[in-house]
């Protein structure tokens, strides 16, 4: 005995959804307008690919054959017209895209890849080797960090602070662009000269008890203070 299979009834569900479409507004002469489209395509060939396009014919008065010709011309350029608006329904045949009404203007979101932003300039300079006698490191943009030592007769010039993880035997000039908050830090101070924002002390003026110890220098008003670190 065969069971009669009843086809289950599917409910047709309707949902509303809106999409953003490019709206083309052709103007006469149509041939000239098509040239403009060609020019756009020449600049960026993929510009209209995969984007819905609607023709707004309200600015022109075209016959049925002219509309058909325009649609095929666009199709030849790989532009598929999704619908037409601004035209009397009698001018459209069933083979043409359907008539659309009720479109609203909106902002187009450009999905072009963003230009890589120019890298922000580094605010600090790291030197991993010792700075030798006679070498001069100038970095007006920010801090300078030296992992090695700064030799006697070498100099470090920084717009910001100076950090030296070895022995400072040369000159260190911090805050050269008028940054009085800049400081100089070093693991061992045997400096020939320290300067912050134009205020300086020579080796002779640096307290002998500080020598060979970790120290920092900073500006207190217009006097330079040098104190041991930790």
């Amino acid at each position: 005995m065969d069971a009669i299979v009843q086809p289950t009834r599917q409910l047709v569900r309707m949902r509303g959804r809106s999409y953003v479409a490019f709206v083309f507004c052709p103007v006469v002469p149509i041939a000239g307008w098509l040239e403009e489209i060609d020019a756009t395509l020449a600049r960026s060939p993929g510009f209209f690919v995969g984007k819905p396009v609607v023709l707004d014919l309200s600015a022109v008065d075209l016959s049925q054959t002219a509309i058909a010709h325009l649609v095929t011309s666009l199709e030849q350029r790989n532009i598929r017209v999704l619908g037409i608006e601004g035209v009397d329904a009698v001018h459209l045949t069933t083979s043409m895209p359907p008539l659309l009404t009720g479109g609203r203007n909106c902002m187009l979101v450009q999905n072009e890849p963003k230009k890589p932003e120019a890298k922000p300039k580094p605010m600090s300079l790291l030197i991993e080797s010792p700075v030798r006698s006679g070498q001069s490191v100038v970095f007006a943009e920010g801090d300078v960090t030296v992992l090695g030592s700064v030799g006697s007769g070498a100099e470090i010039v920084a717009g910001g602070s100076i950090h030296i993880y070895g022995t400072l035997r040369g000159r260190a000039m911090a805050g050269v662009n008028g940054n009085s908050a800049a400081r100089i830090y070093c693991q061992k101070i045997e400096a020939e000269l320290l300067a912050i924002d134009g205020y300086y002390q020579t080796a002779e003026e640096i307290d002998a008890t500080l020598r060979n110890r970790p120290a920092q220098a900073w500006l207190d008003g217009d006097t330079m203070k040098i104190t041991p670190l930790n």
Binding site: R132, G134, Q135, S149, G151, S152, G153, A154, T167
Partner: protein, 271 residues
């Protein structure tokens, strides 16, 4: 593969020429084919230290300028078959050296020798920069005193920036050779200690040559100290340094003052 080694220092009178001759002779004694090149144009000395001053016909400048062939200018040592000298000109100055000329002479020497030792003039001018320009390795001769150490530091900076190797992003292998080390004065704290020197220069140590009369004596008789008296303290120190250049591991001997009887009796008090 030929190695170009520059013996340099920045400061004058620290023992570059003595060291070039001593290291060259030591390497030659070990069977290497060595040429020592005097770059001190106008103030040449290497020919005297090697005792070849009476056999100089053509010199480095003649070769650089194409007046003579390299083979005409090379002088073979009378004691060691595989030690050669390319002398400097005494009548010219350093401006006679050209970058292209030095480059072609060095390239030529590379095909003929195992070691090319360039004796740099003092200073940081043309002669010194051209002497180091094509070096693969550098020996920085330093005396245990602040002025010499600071000048050496300057030279190390130049070796890291002005040589062909540095410009190609490679490194010139650098060694510090401490000369004229006087253990008695070091013990009294009158000289920089080895540790201080190495801390300031942050460069590996090749050897410590003790201050010795033997060095002066050898120079005066026109013989490298490593040939003149092979058992003397400086000769042994130079030979050890040469072995380290060859890649051998040799224990570093810090020269110590031999204590007299009185010192031994009284001397427990380390400085």
């Amino acid at each position: 593969m030929a190695k170009v080694l520059v013996v340099t220092s920045g400061k004058g009178g620290v023992g570059k020429t003595t060291s070039t001759a001593a290291l060259g002779a030591a390497l030659a004694q070990m069977g290497e084919k060595v040429v020592v090149v005097d770059f001190d144009v106008g103030l040449r000395n290497l020919d005297l230290v090697l005792g070849a001053e009476r056999r100089v016909v053509f010199d480095l400048i003649n070769v650089v300028q194409g007046v003579a062939k390299l083979s005409q200018a090379l002088i073979r040592d009378k004691r060691l078959d595989n030690l050669w000298l390319l002398p400097a000109s005494q009548t010219r100055d350093k401006d006679a050296l050209t970058d292209e000329g030095v480059s072609s002479v060095i390239a030529d020497l590379r095909t003929k020798f195992d070691w090319i030792l360039c004796d740099s003039p003092a200073g940081i001018e043309r002669g010194a920069t051209l002497a180091m320009r094509y070096a693969d390795e550098a020996v920085i001769v330093t005396n245990p005193e602040v002025s010499s150490v600071r000048d050496s530091d300057r030279i190390i900076g130049m070796l890291d920036s002005k040589t062909v190797k540095a410009e190609q992003g490679e490194r010139v292998e650098k060694h510090v050779l401490i000369t004229r080390y006087d253990s008695a004065r070091a013990a009294r704290g009158e000289m920089l200690s080895i540790e201080d020197i190495l801390e300031i220069l942050a460069t590996p140590l090749l050897g410590i040559i003790p201050e010795s009369q033997d060095v002066l004596l050898a120079s005066n008789v026109g013989s490298p100290v490593t040939l003149n008296n092979t058992t003397s303290a400086p000769a042994r120190a130079y030979t050890d340094a040469a072995r380290r250049l060859m890649g051998e591991t040799v224990t570093m001997m810090v020269p110590v003052q031999r204590k007299g009887l009185m010192n031994r009796l009284l001397g427990r008090r380390a400085a």
